[in-house]
C-alpha cells in the first residue's frame, strides 16, 4: 500500500518531529469465558475507552465460530496497528484466533501474489499468562521466552509484511488481582495504546525486546 510505504521502509526509525496522522489501532479480543476473567476483563474495558482504538470481541461476534472473512479483511485494511488481545492458552492464542488466521489471511490478500494489504502495518500480542515471568526462560519450567513461544505469529506477521512488536504481557495472571498488580498493568496498557496511536513509541527500541512492557519509559516519549 503506497500510503504505508514510508513506514514499511523504515520501521526502526524514531519519528521525531514528523507530523503524521494518528495510527488507527485494531484490538481483536478473544476470551472464551469472559465471565471468569480477572485480568482480561479490566484490560478489555480500559481498551474500549481509548480514543482511536477499534475493539472487537471475536467470541461475541462469532459465537458459532463462523467468521465473516470480508468484514475482517475490511477491518484490517482500515487500521495501521493490529493487536491480538487474549489469555495465553497452551503457549498460543485461544482457538478462535487460529480459525481467524486460517480464514482471513488469504493468499492474494495477506501474502503471495497481490497479497499486500497488510504491508507496513504493526502487529503485536497483548496477552496474559498464568505462569510467572521467571518460568518463561531456558531455565524455567516453560523452557522458552514468551517471544520465542510466539514465533509462529512473528513469522506470520513477517510473511504478511507487517512489523512484529514484542508482546505486551502480564505474567502470573492468576494471582495478579490478589497481589494488586492489575491496576498498574491496565494503566501501562492505556499508555502503550496512546503512544502507538500518537507515534510516540520508539519502534526501533521496542522491536528487539522480549516483552513490550519491560521498561515503558525507555521506549515512550511523553507528549
Amino acid at each position: 500500500m503506497p500510503s504505508h510505504a514510508p513506514l514499511a521502509a523504515s520501521p526502526g526509525r524514531v519519528e521525531v518531529g514528523v507530523i503524521t496522522a494518528r495510527r488507527r489501532i485494531l484490538c481483536l479480543f478473544a476470551h472464551p469465558s469472559i465471565d471468569r476473567s480477572e485480568a482480561n476483563r479490566p484490560l478489555f474495558d480500559a481498551t474500549a475507552r481509548v480514543a482511536g482504538v477499534t475493539l472487537v470481541d471475536l467470541y461475541a461476534e462469532y459465537p458459532t465460530g463462523e467468521i465473516d472473512v470480508d468484514r475482517e479483511q475490511a477491518r484490517l485494511r482500515g487500521h495501521d496497528v493490529i493487536c491480538f488481545m487474549h489469555p495465553l492458552y497452551w503457549y498460543s492464542t485461544p482457538s478462535i484466533f487460529k480459525e481467524w488466521q486460517d480464514l482471513v489471511l488469504e493468499h492474494g490478500f495477506a501474502y503471495g501474489i497481490g497479497g499486500t494489504a497488510l504491508h507496513g502495518k504493526l502487529f503485536f500480542n497483548a496477552l496474559t499468562a498464568g505462569g510467572p515471568e521467571q518460568a518463561y526462560c531456558a531455565a524455567g519450567y516453560n523452557h522458552f521466552t514468551i517471544r520465542e513461544l510466539l514465533c509462529p505469529l512473528e513469522q506470520t506477521a513477517r510473511l504478511c509484511g507487517m512489523v512484529f512488536l514484542p508482546p505486551f504481557a502480564l505474567f502470573g495472571a492468576r494471582t495478579a488481582v490478589d497481589e494488586g498488580r492489575i491496576g498498574a498493568h491496565v494503566t501501562d496498557w492505556v499508555r502503550v495504546l496512546e503512544a502507538l496511536r500518537d507515534h510516540r513509541l520508539d519502534l526501533a527500541a521496542a522491536v528487539p525486546l522480549t516483552k513490550l512492557n519491560a521498561d515503558l519509559d525507555a521506549i515512550i516519549r511523553e507528549p
Partner: protein
C-alpha cells in the same frame, strides 16, 4: 349360473393359481398368464366362445400400458429417440416384410398375400416385451430402449398398414369378399364407427393431425385444471374415474379417426409426463393395466385352437421357428448396424422375435378384405400365438445364457449414476419446503409429494417441482420410486398419517432410511416406535433460536449464550433418550407415574446443567475454559 360371474371366477382363479407358480419358477408373469389361458381354454374347455370378446376388452390393457409408458417418458427423451424410432423401427418392419414376402413368393403364393403376411409378422408384441422388460428391470438398458423404439414405430406403422392391406387383395379372393368392406378402419373388431370413412387422402391427413393436436393441447392445457379441480374435492375414486375417462376418451377419439388407441394414449402420457399428477395417475391406472394385460395374455393362451394345431402341427411349428429365426436375423443385423453393445444386441433380437397381438387384428382384417384365405389365416394365427408363447422362454435364455457370459466378459461402466441417490419427501408445506430447498441446492434429486393440489400448483409457479398425491398410499409411494430411494422424509403435519407412513415404509422397504418430523415428544416417540431412523421435533430448533436471541438481547455474552444453548440441546437429547423406555412401558403419560417423576427430574436438572462449574460439580456443560487453580505455579515449578 350367472355366466359373467362364472367366467370372471375362472379367469381370476387361473391367474391366481398359475402366475405366482410361474414367477416362483423364474418363468415370469407373462408365461404364467399364457399357461393359465391354455389350461382354462383348450385343455379344460372351461372357456371358449367368449374369448374373442374378452380379448377386445383385454386389449385395453395395452392401451393403458402405453399411457403409463408415456408418463415415464418426457417429450425431450422422445425427441432424442427419433433416429432410432424411424431408422431402427422403419428398417425392421420393411426388411422383415420384404423377406417374408419373398419367401412366400418362392413357396408359390401370390405376392400381395406374401406382403400382407410379411407385414403381419413384422409386428412384435408390445404387451409381452414391455411387460417382461419392466419385470426384469431391463427397460432402461440400451437394448430395452432400442426395443421400445421399434415397438413404437410398429404402433405408428399400423395406420399405413391398415390402409395398404385392402390394396393387396388377390383377384380371386377379392371378388368374393371385397363387397362388404369399404372402410380402412382400425381393426375389424372395433371398426364399426368411423368419422373418416370416405374422406379423401388429404382430408384424412388433416383429421388425423387435428386429433393429435387435440390430444396434445387438451392434455397440456385442459387436463391439469380439471385434475386440480377434482383433486381438491378429495374424492379419490373420482380422481381414478377421471383418469380412466381421460384414457377411454382418447382411445375413443383415436378409434374414430382410425388411429391406434394405444398410440393416442401414449401421446397423452408423454404430454402429462411433466405434470404434477404424474405419480397419482400412475398409481391409479397401474392396477387396471396389470389386470387387463393379464387378461389379455390369458385370452391369447385360451385362444389357441388345438383342433387346427393338431391337424397342422408340423406346419405350425416349422413356420413359427422360421418366422422367429428370420425376425431374429433381421434384428441382430440391425442391432449391429446401429452399434448396440453385444448384450443389448441379443436382448433386442431375442426379445422382439415374436409376432404380436396386432397380428390377430391384421389377420382378421386381411381375411375380411380377401387378402388371406380364412383357413390359412387360422394356421397363421396359431403361429402368432405360438411365437408369443415362446417369447418368455427366449427371455429366460437371455437371462441364463447370454447375460451372465457378458457380465463376466466386459465390465462396462454403469450408466446414469446418481451420486447421492433419490430422496422422497412427503409433504411440501413450511417444513418440507426447507428440506427440499437445501437438498436440491446441494445437488440431491428429490421427489416431492403433497396431497394439496393448490400447494403443488403454487410451488410450480415459483419453480419448485412437486407431485400431487397422498403419500400415505403405498401404491403412490411406489410410483414415486420409494423402492429405489435412499431416504424417505416424512414432513406432513397429520400426526397419525405420519406414523402410519413410517410403519408402512419401514415394513415394506427395510433399506430406506426414514427421517421424520414430529409434532411433540409423544409424537416423536410414536415415530421412533414405528421405525423412523431420525425424528426431529418441528419447532424445537426455532424455539431454541429465539431463546438464544432473547438471552443476547438481554445483554448476555453471545458465546456464553451459544454454549448454554448447546448444553440445553444436549440435556434435552439425553432426557429424551433416557425417558423413552419409561414411555414405552406405558405411553399414557397421565397414568405413568414413574415417567412423570422422571420428567420433573429432567426439568429440574436443567439449571444445574447450564450453570454448574466443571470443577465444583463435575458437570459436562461448561467443560471448557475454566482457569487452573491459583496454586498451580508452585506445583509446576516444583516438578520442573
Amino acid at each position: 349360473m350367472d355366466g359373467m360371474l362364472f367366467h370372471a371366477f375362472i379367469y381370476l382363479a387361473a391367474a391366481v393359481l398359475a402366475v405366482p407358480i410361474a414367477n416362483r419358477l423364474g418363468l415370469g408373469s407373462v408365461l404364467g398368464y399364457l399357461i393359465a389361458g391354455i389350461l382354462i381354454g383348450p385343455t379344460l374347455g372351461l372357456v371358449g366362445a367368449e374369448t374373442e370378446e374378452v380379448q377386445q376388452v383385454a386389449e385395453f390393457g395395452v392401451v393403458m400400458m402405453l399411457f403409463l409408458i408415456g408418463l415415464e417418458l418426457e417429450p425431450k427423451l422422445l425427441w432424442e429417440m427419433r433416429a432410432r424410432i424411424l431408422g431402427l423401427g422403419g428398417l425392421q418392419v420393411m426388411m422383415t416384410a420384404v423377406l417374408i414376402a419373398a419367401a412366400a413368393l418362392l413357396l408359390g403364393y401370390h405376392g400381395g398375400l406374401g406382403l400382407a403376411v410379411g407385414l403381419i409378422f413384422a409386428m412384435s408384441s408390445t404387451a409381452i416385451v414391455l411387460q417382461t422388460l419392466g419385470e426384469k428391470g431391463l427397460t432402461r438398458t440400451d437394448g430395452g430402449q432400442a426395443s421400445f423404439a421399434v415397438l413404437l414405430f410398429q404402433d405408428l406403422s399400423l395406420i399405413p398398414v391398415l390402409a395398404l392391406i385392402p390394396l393387396l387383395a388377390a383377384p380371386g379372393l377379392s371378388g368374393l369378399w371385397a363387397a362388404g368392406s369399404g372402410e380402412p378402419g382400425a381393426g375389424a373388431a372395433h371398426g364399426a364407427m368411423s368419422l373418416v370413412a370416405g374422406l379423401p387422402g388429404w382430408g384424412y391427413a388433416l383429421v388425423v393431425l387435428g386429433a393429435v393436436a387435440l390430444v396434445v393441447l387438451a392434455g397440456h392445457y385442459l387436463s391439469r385444471p380439471l385434475f386440480r379441480y377434482i383433486a381438491e374435492s378429495r374424492l379419490r375414486e373420482v380422481f381414478t374415474a377421471s383418469a380412466l375417462l381421460l384414457i377411454i376418451g382418447i382411445a375413443l377419439l383415436m378409434t374414430l379417426v382410425d388411429l391406434s388407441p394405444a398410440l393416442g394414449t401414449f401421446l397423452a402420457g408423454v404430454v402429462l409426463a411433466n405434470s404434477e399428477f404424474r405419480h397419482e395417475l400412475q398409481s391409479d391406472i397401474e392396477p387396471f393395466k396389470g389386470l387387463l394385460l393379464g387378461l389379455f395374455f390369458i385370452t391369447v393362451g385360451a385362444g389357441i385352437d388345438f383342433g387346427v394345431l393338431s391337424a397342422h402341427l408340423a406346419t405350425v411349428i416349422v413356420l413359427t421357428l422360421s418366422v422367429m429365426s428370420l425376425k431374429m436375423a433381421v434384428l441382430l443385423g440391425l442391432a449391429r448396424l446401429f452399434r448396440l453393445q453385444p448384450g443389448d444386441q441379443w436382448l433386442f433380437a431375442l426379445g422382439l422375435a415374436q409376432a404380436g397381438e396386432f397380428g390377430f387384428v391384421l389377420l382378421a382384417f386381411s381375411v375380411q378384405n380377401g387378402v388371406i384365405p380364412a383357413d390359412l389365416a387360422r394356421i397363421l394365427s396359431l403361429v402368432v400365438a405360438l411365437s408369443m408363447l415362446l417369447t418368455p422362454a427366449l427371455f429366460i435364455a437371455y437371462d441364463r445364457l447370454i447375460a451372465p457370459a457378458l457380465r463376466t466378459g466386459s465390465a462396462s461402466a454403469p450408466d446414469d449414476i446418481d451420486e447421492w441417490g433419490t430422496v422422497v419427501i412427503a409433504g411440501i408445506g413450511r417444513f418440507g419446503q426447507i428440506v427440499n430447498r437445501l437438498l436440491l441446492a446441494s445437488g440431491v434429486r428429490t421427489v416431492v409429494l403433497d396431497n394439496r393440489a393448490d400447494q403443488i400448483d403454487l410451488l410450480r409457479k415459483v419453480g419448485i417441482k412437486g407431485y400431487y398425491g397422498d403419500a400415505a398410499r403405498p401404491d403412490l409411494l411406489h410410483a414415486a420410486g420409494i423402492s429405489q430411494a435412499r431416504l424417505f422424509v416424512v414432513a406432513i403435519d397429520d400426526q397419525d398419517r405420519a406414523v402410519k407412513m413410517v410403519e408402512h415404509v419401514r415394513r415394506t422397504y427395510p433399506t430406506v432410511k426414514i427421517l421424520a418430523r414430529a409434532f411433540d415428544v409423544r409424537h416423536l416417540y410414536l415415530l421412533q416406535q414405528a421405525g423412523a431412523d431420525l425424528v426431529v421435533r418441528e419447532v424445537f430448533d426455532s424455539s431454541l433460536t429465539l431463546s438464544i436471541a432473547a438471552l443476547k438481547a438481554l445483554g448476555m455474552h453471545p458465546f456464553k449464550v451459544e454454549r448454554m444453548a448447546r448444553a440445553f440441546r444436549r440435556h434435552e437429547a439425553e432426557g429424551l433418550t433416557s425417558m423413552y423406555d419409561l414411555w414405552d412401558e406405558n405411553p399414557d403419560i397421565a397414568r405413568n407415574l414413574v415417567l412423570q417423576a422422571r420428567i420433573r427430574e429432567h426439568v429440574g436438572s436443567l439449571q444445574d446443567a447450564l450453570n454448574s462449574d466443571r470443577l465444583q460439580l463435575h458437570d459436562r456443560s461448561e467443560r471448557g475454559w475454566t482457569p487452573p487453580p491459583r496454586g498451580i505455579n508452585r506445583e509446576l515449578d516444583g516438578d520442573a
